[in-house]
């Protein structure tokens, strides 16, 4: 042993006088800038889709209702609660978060002797790290879940602008499965869909390539899937969780994909509707549109003998007589409807209730009546010159096209209106002009500015691709007529459509005018209903705003117990509300007749 070794233990004493390296109470130490610490959640951005709970490999996340956060369209009202007894800070929940609201702070220190303190709802419960700037966030430019939609094939404008062939080509199996794979199965869409369709379940069926299961799920809530798969207003897609950081799921096209895959002769076998036992009761339905057909379908399944009275010569209502064939091919309408009729539903065409047969008679002859007569009357602007015989209603013209009746298509046409029906007539007339004159000269104008147009954006884009001119933001003032012929439409710049009280009361800039030359004008500013068939029983019904019949919200039963009313004359107007109404009315009728 050397001398140094002997002294060594004593030299250590000198450290007593040196400032210690150890920090006494290390509260101030922060984690690294991308450290994965306690969760933060922007609760106003979060929609409670529960994808974080789904991906968590340690089952550390529960979805909990939070006071003050409302359950509404697009937001479940739930927020994630984390159990830090299980969390391993892997941050998969952050990476998959559909709204990017969930992140991790770089704080990691927190003491408590109560284990339940380590279960809390980030962003709701007050924590010292809630305002931390640093921590782990999802890196830009990568996503666990693809945010871009699988493109849908379409005919090029040159291929479609003079034909009524369906322009959307539909997904292939590979495309459909790839698109279905983007769904996180949160089910937020289901609440918003008027028919509350089992959307995540049928998307799952697409993913698993089980079309029979897919079809069964569709028919639980919607007996017109070929129709809805093409022209539904797809409110579900607006609230889709994936819509927050990318394109929403193509829910509508996936529905169409399922229906397209199953041949109609397989339907009865798959849906188990080969034999239905009758219950001996009879229901009359007025109108063979989506609402009437939907009610007929569900009533037929319950064993009712159903007869539909239809004014026109074919079934489908506005779907057939309002929507152009390039969007909604007739053979696909027939596929849906033929199946419903094959369940024993009878239709009497060319029969107008109120004229050919009275509503009260139906009330006597049948156990119940469901009326869904729709909005088939065009509305006029009522401006000077609008009574000219070359001023048409869009709805009449569209009906004529379906009925293959001759339309005297002019060389220069102006359409008034900015909704989807206005786009339908614009694009229909463009095709007819192209066929007749080899060129398009149709201009569409409306009160609303480009951004506020009620039509779907793609409809406007496609109309322009087909060489129609869309010039929004103008108010029609007067139709110029010279020697009995239409010369055109005078418009003034529209400054505002509604007044301060929110009433329709457009204001114009009278110094900013335009004149649109035309020899034919089409008005497409909305549709009205004709319920004159209720005239004789009016006293027994109740009417609400704009003459609508008041019905029970759940059963669609009117004040007259045997009369149920639904479809566009009650809610909407759109196909999916009609289908939902028809289904609810069928259940309502069943309940009513069971109790009777």
């Amino acid at each position: 042993m050397s001398f140094k070794d002997v002294l060594m233990p004593f030299t250590a004493w000198k450290n007593l006088f040196i400032e210690p390296v150890t920090i006494k109470k290390p509260d101030q130490i922060q984690g690294a800038s991308r450290y994965r610490g306690f969760h933060k959640n922007e609760v106003d951005v979060c929609i409670g889709c529960g994808t974080c709970e789904e991906i968590c490999q340690n089952a550390a996340i529960d979805m909990m209702p939070v006071e003050g956060i409302e359950t509404k369209d697009g937001d479940s009202g739930l927020r994630p609660m984390i159990d830090y007894g299980r969390c391993c800070w892997c941050a998969l929940c952050v990476d998959i978060c559909t709204t990017n609201s969930l992140t991790l702070s770089n704080s990691f220190k927190w003491n408590s002797t109560d284990p339940d303190d380590f279960r809390f709802i980030p962003g709701v419960d007050e924590k010292y790290w809630n305002n931390d700037k640093l921590g782990y966030v999802k890196a830009d430019g990568y996503d666990l879940n693809p945010v871009e939609r699988v493109e849908m094939g379409e005919l090029h404008p040159e291929e479609r602008d003079r034909s009524f062939v369906e322009m959307v080509t539909g997904y292939s199996r590979e495309q459909a499965q790839k698109e279905a794979d983007r769904c996180v199965e949160c089910g937020i869409c289901t609440a918003t869909c008027p028919a509350h369709m089992g959307i995540p379940a049928y998307i799952k069926a697409v993913r698993e390539d089980d079309m029979e299961e897919g079809l069964r799920i569709l028919y639980e809530t919607n007996p017109l899937p070929e129709i809805c798969g093409r022209i539904c207003t797809h409110k579900c897609e607006t609230v889709c969780a994936i819509n927050h950081k990318g394109d929403p799921l193509s829910i509508r096209w996936l529905k169409r994909y399922i229906a397209d895959q199953v041949p109609s002769d397989k339907y009865k076998e798959i849906l188990g509707t080969d034999k239905i036992e009758g219950n001996g009761k009879k229901v009359a339905i007025i109108g063979a549109g989506p609402a009437g057909l939907s009610a007929a379908h569900y009533l037929a399944l319950m064993g009712y003998s159903v007869k539909i009275y239809e004014t026109l010569k074919g079934p489908g209502g506005m779907v057939r007589y309002g929507i152009p064939e390039y969007r909604m091919p007739y053979d696909q309408i027939d596929k849906d409807i033929d199946y419903i009729l094959s369940l024993g539903v009878e239709v009497q065409y060319n029969t107008k209730v109120g004229e050919d047969i009275q509503l009260e008679e139906l009330g006597k002859d049948y156990d119940a009546v469901f009326s869904a007569t729709g909005l088939h009357l065009g509305r006029s602007t009522g401006i000077e010159g609008s009574d000219h015989d070359k001023v048409y209603q869009s709805i009449e013209l569209l009906r004529k096209v379906t009925l293959e009746e001759e339309i005297d298509v002019a060389e220069k046409i102006v359409v008034i209106g900015g909704g989807n029906v206005a786009m339908d007539i614009t694009r229909t007339l463009a095709r007819l002009q192209n066929k007749k004159y080899g060129k398009v000269n149709v201009l569409t104008t409306c009160l609303e500015s480009e951004e506020a147009m009620p039509a779907d954006e793609e409809e406007v884009i496609e109309a322009r691709e087909e060489k129609a001119v869309i010039d929004p933001g103008w108010g029609p003032q007067k139709i110029e007529i010279e020697d009995g012929k239409i010369k055109g439409l005078h418009v003034n710049k529209c400054l505002a459509i509604f007044d301060e009280e929110g009433r329709f009361n457009p204001k114009f800039d009278n110094d900013n005018k335009k004149f649109f030359e035309a020899d034919m004008i089409v008005e497409s500013i909305g549709q009205g209903m004709d319920i004159s068939y209720t005239e004789k029983i009016k006293d027994q019904l109740e009417f609400g705003a704009r003459g609508r019949i008041i019905v029970d919200k759940k059963s669609f039963q009117s004040k007259l117990p045997w009369l149920f009313v639904g479809g566009d004359i009650i809610e909407g107007p759109d196909v999916i509300h009609g289908i939902a109404n028809g289904h609810k009315a069928a259940v309502g009728i069943d309940t009513y007749l069971k109790d009777k």
Binding site: A59, M63, M64, R119, C186, G187, I188, A191
Partner: protein, 176 residues
Amino acid sequence: MKELIERLGTKFPVNETVFQRDNLTFITTDKIHAIELITHLRDYEGFSHLVIITAVDWIEEGLFQLTYLLNNPKLKVDMGVRVMIDRKEATMTSSHHLWAAVATYQRELYEMFGIFFPGSPRIKEPFILEGWDGPPPYRRDFDTKKYAEDTYFPRPGRETHDPAEHMKEKMYPEGS
């Protein structure tokens, strides 16, 4: 580095080369020649330091990829030697005689991926998973969530809500 790879190529099978950065190169070699090649790199090419041994589960291809990351302290360059081995017969020649740390890496690989290194010291002793009775957890067919649910009990009082069901209850309780 290119010269080195060429030199190696004359002695050993070098199947694939990735020049990741100036100071990092990956080569892929055969299972039978791998340890011999690593020994050569250590003894004749100055790669005296073992940085790490790690694995990747290529479940779709039925392979495990082993990567031996070596460092040449003089040249300040790294070389990763990759070896693909069969996933079903997950066995690799041990290299614990080259560096003392190898045995520990191999113990970890056995525990996490189930890759066996015959003759490696204490190979079957638990590394960090004392009392583990499940399959090797880094294998991609290991269902972490199922294991967690089966093995650990939920904290008493925990409950959760399905978003779609909750919305139905709140927004349309009468059903569709």
